[in-house]
């Protein structure tokens, strides 16, 4: 259900609406404030601040003998020894139509291509069964820093200088279809 806060008057709403249209906020100044500001909300309940404690290791070598947690949604594991050969070759995976569509900034140079069992989880849903997939990894991907209008250019430059990034694409080894594309950045050592 949509609800308006009850602490402001219609007069103030109208004034602010006009101000928003004109690029300012009328109720921010004391001279135009016609209702008391809303009382501060209570601190977040304690349960809200529990950490997720997800340990990711996106910079692990893609051919690592162990599990690689790129993010909570993307995990790869080595292929089982008895696995059948992939239907889609490495060359075909690298040449898939969807690959290489992000440009040399995100995808600099030649990627490593590693056949892995990859679990992609839709957030909020149960994990899908792991599928044999080519994990294409571009090292030294240029940080793609978006962020709020309220960040400064210096904030963005600082973040760009502080992180190292990889670009990862997952191509299904049975169908050749790209399943996922993401950039993952962690602090420089």
């Amino acid at each position: 259900m949509m609800r308006w806060p009850t602490t402001r008057t219609g007069t103030c709403f109208a004034a602010v609406a006009a101000a928003v249209a004109l690029g300012s906020t009328a109720c921010a100044g004391p001279s135009t404030q016609v209702a008391a500001p809303p009382p501060p909300n209570p601190e977040p309940p304690r349960s809200k601040s529990a950490p997720r404690q997800i340990k990711t290791d996106p910079l692990t070598r893609p051919d690592s003998p162990g599990r690689i947690v790129y993010s909570s949604e993307l995990v790869s594991e080595p292929m089982p020894k008895q696995a059948k050969a992939a239907r889609v070759s490495k060359a075909k995976a690298l040449g898939a139509a969807d690959v290489g569509q992000f440009g040399p900034g995100l995808q600099p140079g030649t990627p490593t291509a590693t056949l892995r069992m990859v679990s992609l989880r839709t957030p909020g849903a149960a994990a899908q069964a792991a599928r044999p997939s080519w994990v294409l990894t571009w090292a030294a991907s240029r940080p793609d820093i978006k962020g709020p209008a309220t960040n400064t250019a210096a904030d963005r430059r600082r973040l760009a200088a502080d992180v190292q990034c990889i670009f990862v694409m997952v191509v299904d080894a049975d169908t050749g279809v790209a399943r996922d594309a993401r950039q993952l950045c962690v602090p420089k050592p």
Partner: protein, 240 residues
């Protein structure tokens, strides 16, 4: 209870062609955001955005030459705090329009997901974009319509343990953006990028409410870009 403001109509001249890239590559904005005052306490944002395209300026084929539109919940504003969760659509120079999302914990982990498929066939279609906090995962989830697109690996409330978002108030933001002032933001006079039913998720009860009248506008290139609010929670942006 929407307070609608009558404003002059805008001439429907064709959009200017994107120019040659010049000046400093950066992040230039056109839209509305909450600047953290007054002290409303929000943990998520929501809205409809009509998908539009924006031409990139010429002469720079890097990822820094982009045009996009999105919504976001950002951290407490200003140093030492930082962090955000956002979702929207974007074109970078030479490549198709795509969905994207980005989460930053403010400390160490920056994750961007891109659609592997173009979304040019969605131009003109209104989609629901949301970044909301979920108790079930203690995380932010970015959704596009009914599809959960991505989630944060961190809990923004877990400050300082695993986020540097800081205390409330956090900032809902609804913006179009370009990497150069010579690029087009999405939308033309005849086919504007419409943001509507803007909402924010309250910290106190996790409920989504219509965005109160607390947004401030910004247009970094008013000569080239336009914005027009029709109420406290609906506005258009476009390239003139």
């Amino acid at each position: 209870v929407l307070a609608v403001v009558a404003l002059p109509t805008t001439a429907t001249t064709p959009a200017a062609a994107a120019g040659v890239c010049g000046g400093t590559r950066g992040n230039y904005f056109n839209g509305y955001f909450q600047d953290g005052k007054p002290n409303y306490q929000f943990e998520g944002s929501s809205g409809y955005i009509v998908v539009r395209d924006g031409a990139n300026c010429t002469g720079d084929t890097s990822i820094g030459n982009f045009s996009n539109a999105w919504l976001m919940i950002a951290s407490n504003l200003g140093a030492p705090y930082n962090g955000w969760g956002q979702v929207g659509f974007e074109r970078t120079a030479g490549f198709p329009l795509r969905w994207f999302s980005q989460f930053y914990d403010g400390y160490k982990a920056l994750e961007t997901r891109y659609s592997t498929f173009p979304v040019s066939n969605q131009i003109g279609v209104r989609h629901t974009f949301r970044v909301l906090w979920y108790e079930s995962c203690l995380c932010l989830r970015a959704t596009i319509d009914s599809t959960t697109w991505a989630e944060s690996d961190f809990n923004p409330f877990a400050y300082p343990a695993e986020s540097n978002w800081g205390p409330q108030a956090w900032s809902p933001q609804f913006l179009a953006e370009a990497g150069y002032l010579q690029s087009d933001v999405p939308g033309t006079p005849a086919a504007r990028t419409r943001f509507s039913s803007l909402g924010a998720q309250r910290v106190s009860d996790d409920r989504l409410i219509l965005m109160p009248c607390v947004l401030s506008g910004t247009t970094d290139n008013p000569t080239r870009w336009a914005r027009q609010a029709s109420s406290c929670n609906a506005f258009d942006v476009w390239t003139k």
